[in-house]
């Protein structure tokens, strides 16, 4: 007699072995789920997750040639394909559980090792659902972006039952970091470490130091983690970033190469290695890493065709221009139905022909690129924008890409490093005045817009100021200041009316957008604190 059941729950089973799928379905049937859907590989699983909402996903780690279970989980979480209260259980053989649990950034809710009996699987599911239900109020608060409330709920829960609360401890730490309460987070993790050396706690502590800009202390923590477990690839990734911040690019590259030997299947890691190797002049390393990252496009959403240009550049640097043009052809063939591939291979071709000085071919490809920009709504990457500009200047036709460069400067006028790159490109083309003028004028325009919005707020016309900034943010989605200013007007309006309902969530969305664009801008933390204070006063 089953008291616990899966009534009203929809379940997704992902396994490449048909007998296993059927077996799991048979095990779950007596629990009377509303619906059981099955997928035979990762690609199918993602397609189903895109279309339907599942309460429970049971996914084998090994799924044949395509995506593995970890990649399915990463993509599902990354693209928000899982409901916040959905349960994801990874099915592993003993030899992979450490690998799964080692990927600290994307954890399943639980994992179960093969072979399992029906009652083991049922109990595991029951346990995971019970845990989810216990933490439901915290998850809801986070979903509503009510972070301070979520921290309070975590603390309550820890007081009620202090043991077995890893999930709650983790969540509390993450929230402290999110709110920029870095000293609190540091103290929190340090006190946990006094009792026991727990890898995820040390990793989080290292991240806090990193966020604080205390890179040497961060380095110490990541190195300690690696002493306990040299196979901890997350620690290797973080150590590489820490070294990069300290200007030790060669060391950073070495560490990334170590991480990739242990775990090559990460396009993000491959891309990071490629970029650093390109700077370090290790063009063969860069070439290999870019190639890997591009081929992973078939399996991972974190991969991108934008790596094409990087690949071509690393080949040109090695004098392999003929191979480069063959590579482009291959990518075109392999990703025939991928619109992104059309754009990026055309761009890579124009870069290649610029370097080989075949300007007519360069121009033709560039025209294709510009045509594709006009037909797609998505914003192009900064790398692509810089390449396009370079090509136009090489063709002695700066007007061709004037919109691209203006858009780039519009979105990133506060990023001095990038602005210097733009200046540099114009200077090398003997047009430094032109470059400076574009940057200056754009900056002036943005300041004018900001001033106008701020003026409205100062005159007490808060609603108008909010509308104005929202409108401006639409035109300048990647400008951190506009996002912050829009949120600030909302905060003032909430203060004035005492009604937090209307702008609470929207102001946080804008703040988070700004924070994503410019993670080092302290304004985010100041403003998010104001919003949190408002909500706690209201409560």
């Amino acid at each position: 007699m089953n008291i616990w059941n899966l009534k009203n729950k929809s379940v997704l089973i992902v396994d490449d072995f048909d007998k296993m799928r059927l077996l799991i379905r048979e095990i779950l049937s007596p629990l009377m789920p509303q619906k059981i859907t099955m997928a035979k590989n990762g690609e199918e699983a993602i397609e189903l997750l895109e279309k339907q909402c599942f309460d429970i996903v049971l996914c084998d780690y090994k799924l044949g040639d395509g995506k593995d279970g970890q990649q399915v989980l990463e993509e599902a979480r990354h693209r928000d394909l899982l409901k916040y209260n959905a349960t994801f259980i990874m099915i592993t053989a003993e030899n992979t559980s450490a690998m799964v649990m080692g990927a600290i950034d994307f954890l399943p809710d639980d994992y179960i090792s093969k072979p399992f009996t029906p009652s083991q699987l049922q109990k595991r599911l029951e346990k995971a659902s019970r845990k989810k239900a216990q933490l439901d109020n915290i998850a809801t608060a986070i979903y509503d972006k009510n972070y301070s409330k979520a921290i309070t709920l975590c603390e309550q829960r820890l007081q009620e039952s202090p043991t077995g609360q890893m999930e709650v401890l983790r969540t509390k730490g993450e929230l402290l970091k999110k709110l920029g309460r870095l000293n609190d987070a540091e103290n929190f993790y340090t006190s946990l470490l006094k009792e026991r050396n727990i890898p995820w706690v040390r990793q989080s502590l290292g991240q806090v130091y990193f966020q604080k800009g205390n890179y040497s202390e961060a380095e110490t923590q990541f190195k300690l983690l690696l002493k306990d477990n040299p196979a901890n690839v997350n620690a290797l990734d973080w150590l590489a970033s820490t070294l990069e911040k300290q200007g030790e690019l060669e060391n950073s590259q070495n560490i990334l190469q170590q991480a990739i030997r242990r775990s090559p299947k990460s396009p993000v890691r491959q891309r990071k290695l490629a970029a650093i190797a390109l700077i370090n002049g290790a063009y063969d390393v860069a070439e290999k890493a870019y190639e890997y990252a591009i081929n992973e496009c078939k399996h991972s959403c974190l991969s991108s065709m934008a790596d094409c240009s990087g690949l071509i550049k690393s080949m040109i640097k090695q004098g392999k221009t003929e191979e480069a043009s063959k590579s482009i052809e291959n990518i075109q063939k392999n990703f025939k139905n991928n619109p992104e591939a059309r754009f990026h291979t055309a761009l890579a071709s124009s870069v290649l022909y610029r370097e080989t000085n075949e300007l007519e071919k360069c121009r033709k490809n560039l025209e294709t690129v510009l045509k594709l920009i006009n037909s797609q709504s998505e914003e192009i990457s900064t790398e692509a924008a810089l390449d396009i500009t370079k090509n136009c200047l090489a063709l002695d036709n700066p007007e061709l890409a004037i919109n691209v460069i203006k858009q780039l400067v519009n979105n990133h006028s506060e990023n001095e490093q990038l602005m210097n790159q733009v200046r540099d490109i114009y200077e090398k083309a003997g047009r430094s005045e032109e470059g400076n003028a574009i940057i200056q004028n754009t900056k002036k325009e943005i300041i004018r817009i900001n001033n106008e919005g701020v003026k409205l707020a100062q005159d007490g016309k808060l609603e108008q100021s909010i509308d104005f900034f929202i409108q401006a943010a639409k035109g300048l989605p990647n400008n951190a200041t506009i996002n912050f200013n829009a949120a600030y007007s909302m905060i003032q309006q909430m203060k004035k009316t005492g009604d937090t309902g209307k702008y609470f969530s929207l102001s946080k969305t804008l703040l988070e957008q700004g924070h994503k664009i410019d993670p080092h801008n302290q304004k985010y933390f100041q403003l998010i604190k104001l919003v949190e204070d408002l909500s706690s006063q209201a409560a």
């Binding site: 003993e94 072979p115 009996t117």
Partner: protein
């Protein structure tokens, strides 16, 4: 010829074997549930038992291989010990019921400890497989915290450990394990390695065996910092 990466081959072979074992064990389970004939049922339970033994040895081999290659790093997770023990024992209750052996677990609900579930599960499975042959009527499993150590104990009412299997807490590391006489040697070796992989604040885990069990039966203890 290209040299193969043995560890990859092993991992992929184990994956396939595990799938096969999973189907096997579940099918036997299904047949057993619909069988009324007591004799058939006993035979099916025997098959189950052998399946579990294969799995157990597979885990031990793989883990020991990886430790030997310095490729195994313990995955210590905070674990509800009561729940963990219940789950590990659950798959053995029907098997032991056939031999009229009762299993009890003595552990409070709020006991949580940092353990590598795969390793400790391997230790438990190994002991349960042995006790299936040796226990007479009763097995008592207990877990408690003493100062900063988790003590997991399994007592039975069988004949107890033979002299060469007796390990005091202090000699377990140096003891030479005899792999020839029986599989128990390998099991104890695996258990001592599994215990040692658990470390905290400079202390390592260890095991001990004695004949202080029920009515002079065996008593296996694993201490985890």
């Amino acid at each position: 010829m290209k040299t193969i990466n043995f560890s990859t081959v092993l991992a992929s072979a184990v994956h396939d074997i595990k799938n096969a074992l999973n189907i096997l064990i579940n099918n036997i389970d299904a047949i057993s549930n619909t069988t009324v004939n007591a004799e058939n049922k006993t035979e099916l339970e025997q098959l189950q038992y052998q399946g579990k033994r294969i799995n157990n040895h597979l885990i031990q081999l793989l883990v020991l291989y990886r430790i030997n290659q310095s490729q195994y790093f313990p995955n210590l997770m905070e674990t509800g010990i009561k729940e963990f023990l219940d789950e590990a024992i659950d798959q053995y209750t029907s098997l032991f019921a056939l031999k009229n052996i009762t299993l009890t677990v003595d552990c409070t609900d709020d006991l949580y400890w940092y353990i590598d579930c795969d390793l400790i599960n391997g230790v438990l499975t190994n002991i349960m497989n042995n006790l299936y042959m040796h226990a007479k009527s009763k097995i008592e499993i207990s877990a408690r915290q003493e100062s900063n150590t988790l003590i997991l104990q399994i007592k039975d009412d069988g004949f107890g450990f033979s002299d060469e299997m007796l390990l005091t807490p202090f000699c377990s590391q140096q003891k030479k394990f005899n792999f020839n006489s029986s599989s128990t040697g390998l099991g104890l070796y695996f258990s001592s390695i599994a215990a040692e992989m658990h470390q905290n604040n400079g202390k390592s885990g260890y095991i001990s065996t004695s004949n202080d069990g029920l009515n002079g039966g065996g008593c296996f203890s694993i201490m985890l910092p």
